[in-house]
Symmetry: C2
């Protein structure tokens, strides 16, 4: 089995460039959403504790099987740790043998941004050049890079109540676009073509109201991604063309959990395979209500598996015994 560590992901992204890595992720996810009916779509398995949640997210087609283990522990940040850490595995359906185990903390951030960008490619106006970012935490740089991969983004206005987080974003991204730090959400979004909300507070927030949003804007609602955690006002939802990943999951976890009668226009795979349009005209407000789906993990795992083979990165580890006689498992101990 191939083992891919954080250092290995760093090697791969440095070798081919983070922009190219992000583009490949967008392409891989697009390719897999286009063949949506071929996938086994299972609900995630979660165990909840007072401190957080531990989840398993399996997914497979007829050739490959993947799962992700991911936690969510809001209190970790105060201890200098990440709230969300993950690892993922890819196995061969034919034999059931594991092919690759990989870090997935970085890959989750990247696949989440790539999925948002894929939606923006279909839902934002093609000439969108002004991005607003609400929240410049761990996810922000990835969201910006992914959006710039699909739209001609030249300007980014951004707001975060944590000024240190805003400085961090500026430090990493100032050479990639015209960056405009803002002192309020309203200020950041007022002229934006595309708005991304990526905040971490585990509450029902109302970061965006309808009167703050100009016509034709595309919104990526990232941070509303588990029960009890939303970012947008109901009025805004009512006036938006809404697209989700997988309706049964989004009704539990997405922005639309507050809006049971939401008229959801499409699941993203229907935009990718051409069944439905992402946008009808330049006036409407569009919303991709993103919560994260197991196919996205599958896509980036198979992409990293291919890249690690091409670039010869990662360590091969003996995770499965290789007895000469398959009935002689005991003999492998000596």
């Amino acid at each position: 089995m191939r083992l891919i560590t954080v250092s290995d992901i760093k090697s791969i992204t440095q070798k081919i460039g983070i922009e190219s890595f992000m583009q490949k992720a967008i392409d891989a996810i697009k390719e897999d959403f286009a063949r949506w009916p071929e996938f086994n779509k299972s609900p995630r398995h979660a165990i909840h504790y007072p401190q957080g949640v531990m989840e398993l997210m399996p997914c497979s087609d007829n050739a490959l099987y993947s799962f992700k283990f991911v936690n969510g522990h809001p209190g970790n940040t105060a201890q200098g740790r990440l709230c969300v850490a993950a690892l993922g595995m890819l196995a061969e359906v034919k034999t059931g043998y594991p092919l690759m185990l990989s870090e997935m903390t970085l890959l989750t951030a990247i696949r989440t941004a790539a999925t948002g960008a894929l939606a923006a490619q279909y839902m934002a106006r093609p000439k969108s050049c002004h991005l607003a970012l609400i929240g410049t935490g761990a996810q922000a740089e990835f969201q910006f890079l992914a959006t710039q991969a699909v739209l001609p983004i030249e300007k980014v206005s951004y707001f975060d109540p944590d000024t240190q987080a805003m400085h961090k974003f500026h430090k990493h991204m100032h050479h990639k676009a015209d960056l405009q730090p803002c002192t309020s959400i309203r200020g950041a979004v007022q002229d934006a073509d595309v708005i991304i909300t990526a905040t971490a507070a585990k509450t029902k927030n109302r970061l965006l109201e309808k009167d703050m949003i100009k016509k034709g804007t595309h919104i990526l609602g990232m941070g509303g991604d588990c029960p009890g955690k939303t970012e947008l006002s109901l009025e805004l939802l009512e006036h938006s063309r809404i697209v989700v990943e997988y309706l049964p999951q989004s009704q539990e976890e997405g922005e639309i959990q507050n809006y049971p009668n939401a008229n959801v226009h499409a699941e993203i795979w229907e935009l990718v395979n051409g069944t439905k349009n992402g946008r009808e005209n330049d006036e409407e407000i569009t919303l991709f209500d993103s919560v994260g789906f197991a196919i996205e993990d599958f896509s980036i795992l198979r992409m990293v598996h291919d890249l690690s083979n091409q670039l010869n990165i990662g360590q091969n580890v003996d995770i499965t015994p290789t007895p000469i006689d398959p009935k002689d498992l005991y003999g492998t101990l000596f």
Copy 2:
């Protein structure tokens, strides 16, 4: 995160001896079954394919979380591969961070044997010295060693339709007991105190009939462990005191799947914590209908985690990023 490979398990078992490793596994499983109500008991997650099945088995108490990924591909043997291969992870509930990833093909064989032995400790007559083994495939040596850890086994009679598998068993175990190869199941079991059935055929078999079994025998039904796969006759079930691991799972996967009205005496944890007796007298036939349960994986993973720390075995791998500022995930790529 600590990575434990097949070579590492080999190092640990060679360092402390397979018998001592088995004894520690029995003790760890016993300790955890004794505190059964403290565990989150989840159904396993399975995806079925024409070639086999891929499963995730999660389990946790308030301090540790584990899962096992395991496949079941009967056709693998013909390709010189194992039918069942597995890997497992242990994480800290407090932070959600992974502590250890381990090979679990060998560990599954060992924990399965250890669980059977734990049941035998409570259910077999204490002076049982004659073991019969039906099936001498990949599991056989482990079953014998585990049984010998809890009972004064001096003689093993065994049968397998594959004579090569019988030779393999003899080669590994001839110095540990008086071994008696047999030419039929009936011959192997006729004088046995304890019988273990561990066959691999995915069918409803009737390896053991009631008239083959002498009074007072304890039977460990190992191989009846998934829907459609059983080894014992209904009449034998009707005349046995039956103990299972976890009733809802055993009703789907165990011998009792053929016997919906089975009067199941206990779940094994009730024997361990002293609520119920494993045996009432020296005359009755007892049956442990074993299918494998996630707590057993949890137990052996925490045991291996402790041992790997004590013996300093295994490699530490960077599976989770360690940013200086937890909001600066992007910065860890450079």
